[in-house]
């Protein structure tokens, strides 16, 4: 692991964390969506450091380039108010959210702490990780049925959206 790779990884990881935090922190919905795009870009860079060029390209092409554009469309057309939520959570709700958050972070920290010093972290990915060939083999091999069913699911969602949106077909 050369030093350039470390710098790239740390930069992309820091960028991903910061932009992920800004997604939930920012008041304006449009900026949250844009920070999510930045987060996806950082994850694409992380894929590139692992040598998964196809995965990085598809991440940018599909997720950042198509899905998030449509998110932005909806946000801009519906124009949600940037002045905060219209209802207020009570103290019990806030306490419960806080407790669940602490539990979640605790579980995360415990999981990562258990891996420190483990040899698993240092094994390199197998060559051809994330390349078009390996993704294609997996997608059309063992995962063929889930793949086709997911396509059907997307079709159902699209038909539902069209039915809901059009007043008369």
């Amino acid at each position: 692991m050369g030093s350039l790779e470390q710098i790239l990884f740390l930069g992309a990881a820091a960028g991903a964390i910061v932009s992920g935090l800004m997604v939930i922190w920012h008041r304006s919905a449009v900026l949250s969506a844009l920070f999510l795009v930045a987060n996806l870009g950082c994850i694409a860079i992380l894929f590139l450091t692992l040598g998964g060029q196809f995965l990085a390209a598809v991440q940018v092409l599909v997720y950042a380039g198509a899905i998030m554009v449509l998110f932005l469309f909806v946000i801009m057309l519906l124009n949600p108010a940037a002045s905060g939520p219209r209802f207020r959570t009570g103290r019990a709700g806030t306490g419960l959210a806080f407790a669940l958050g602490v539990l979640f972070v605790g579980a995360l920290v415990r999981g990562v702490w258990g891996l420190r010093g483990s040899r698993e972290l240092l094994t390199p990915v197998h060559p051809g990780f994330g390349s078009a060939v390996s993704v294609g083999k997996v997608l059309f091999g063992p995962y063929l049925y889930p793949f086709e069913l997911t396509a059907l699911l997307l079709l159902v969602a699209m038909v539902g959206a069209v039915v809901l949106a059009k007043k008369d077909l």
Binding site: L34, V60, L61, G65, V69, L72, F73
Partner: protein
């Protein structure tokens, strides 16, 4: 990751500077070419006052835009207002990095120079190069939609939404038109796709993909016109509509960045058309020693790309523009279906072993 040494870093820098300066110079002179060729088609002379034949006109344009007052409308959201032209220009220029300009690397020693530097004919040789190009093209939509939204102008917003809806509609047809070429070439790497187009059939017909996928070529051509918002698909920017669409409120340098982004995207898409369908840098029947062969191949590539750039300007003044609903109908009801049919046909032929 391979080791990074000073020499390889310098080689990469030299390639980046060379190829990106070619792109930016091309962008500048495309503005002049557009005006001269438009003038020629309209039976008038274009700009010919600044410098011989008007060749310094892009310089004059650049200076003018730099010195103009940069107005930001009050109420505009400044960070996104400034980011939008950047988001449009950077992907357009960056996607040129994966396009190969010649068949093999050129070593500076072959020119008699004392350094042993290899200059590869591309900036980046990515195994998923075509996908990176398509991915960067889909990032250009952000610049358009953010420009419309951040302008604090209802009409810019509508123009931005319409332009970006047009762009994402035709991205679909673009991707589907490219897919059969990937199918027959078996690779996403542009250098491989170009290498597979060498040789001739029957002694004279070059083995270019346009003869195997004529329909795919036409589909990609139409999709590229629509993606770049060039006539006949430039309704969002037509003067009679929505003023200037999403870049109404932009002045001076920011407007120049939108303008440059349009031409840079045109250059990149012409290069993509040439690489995928016209054999890229292939010059059938010519065999010269290196490095002269690489230079001849780069020259052939430039000629073919220039033909498509000329085509862009030619079509602009030949056909009237589409109405917005005709445009969207064409994208979703006609081109997508035809692209799918083309893909299925090519897949069947490939499975049968014919292609």
């Amino acid at each position: 990751m391979p080791g990074i040494s000073l020499q390889s870093t310098l080689e990469i820098l030299v390639r980046m500077i060379l190829i990106f300066s070619v792109v930016f110079t091309g962008v500048g002179y495309m503005t002049l070419v557009e005006r001269r060729v438009s003038g020629w088609m309209q039976d008038r002379i274009g700009p010919n006052r600044v410098g011989p034949l008007g060749l310094l006109q892009p310089l004059a344009d650049g200076i003018k835009h730099l010195m103009k007052e940069d107005v930001t409308p009050p109420g505009a959201y400044r960070p996104l207002f400034i980011l939008a032209p950047i988001l449009t220009l950077v992907p357009a220029v960056l996607s040129f990095a994966v396009i190969p300009l010649a068949g093999s690397a050129v070593n500076l020693r072959q020119f008699g120079l004392p350094w042993d530097w290899e200059i590869a004919p591309y900036i980046a040789d990515v195994s998923a190069g075509l996908l990176i190009l398509l991915g960067l093209a889909s990032l250009e939509v952000y610049g358009v939609v953010l420009a419309g939204w951040a302008s604090a102008n209802r009409y810019s917003m509508m123009g931005g939404l319409r332009s970006s809806a047009q762009m994402i509609s035709y991205e679909l047809a673009l991707g589907l038109a490219v897919l059969p070429v990937i199918l027959t070439s078996g690779s996403l790497r542009l250098q491989t796709i170009t290498h597979l187009q060498e040789g001739v059939w029957f002694g004279f017909l070059p083995r270019w993909n346009i003869f195997i996928h004529p329909f795919g070529f036409l589909l990609l051509l139409v999709a590229v016109f629509a993606e770049n918002k060039r006539l006949p698909f430039d309704l969002p920017e037509a003067e009679a509509e929505l003023v200037a669409g999403y870049h109404t409120e932009y002045s001076a340098m920011k407007f120049l960045m939108f303008y440059m982004a349009e031409y840079a995207a045109m250059i990149t898409n012409s290069a993509l058309l040439v690489t995928l369908f016209l054999g890229g840098w292939q010059v059938p029947g010519v065999h010269l020693p290196q490095p002269w062969m690489a230079l001849v191949q780069a020259g052939a590539f430039a000629l073919k790309t220039f033909f498509f750039l000329f085509l862009f300007v030619w079509v602009r003044w030949t056909v009237p523009r589409f109405r917005y609903d005709q445009l969207m109908d064409l994208g979703w009801k006609v081109l997508m279906e035809l692209a799918f049919a083309n893909l299925v046909l090519v897949a069947l032929l490939t499975a049968a072993g014919i292609l």
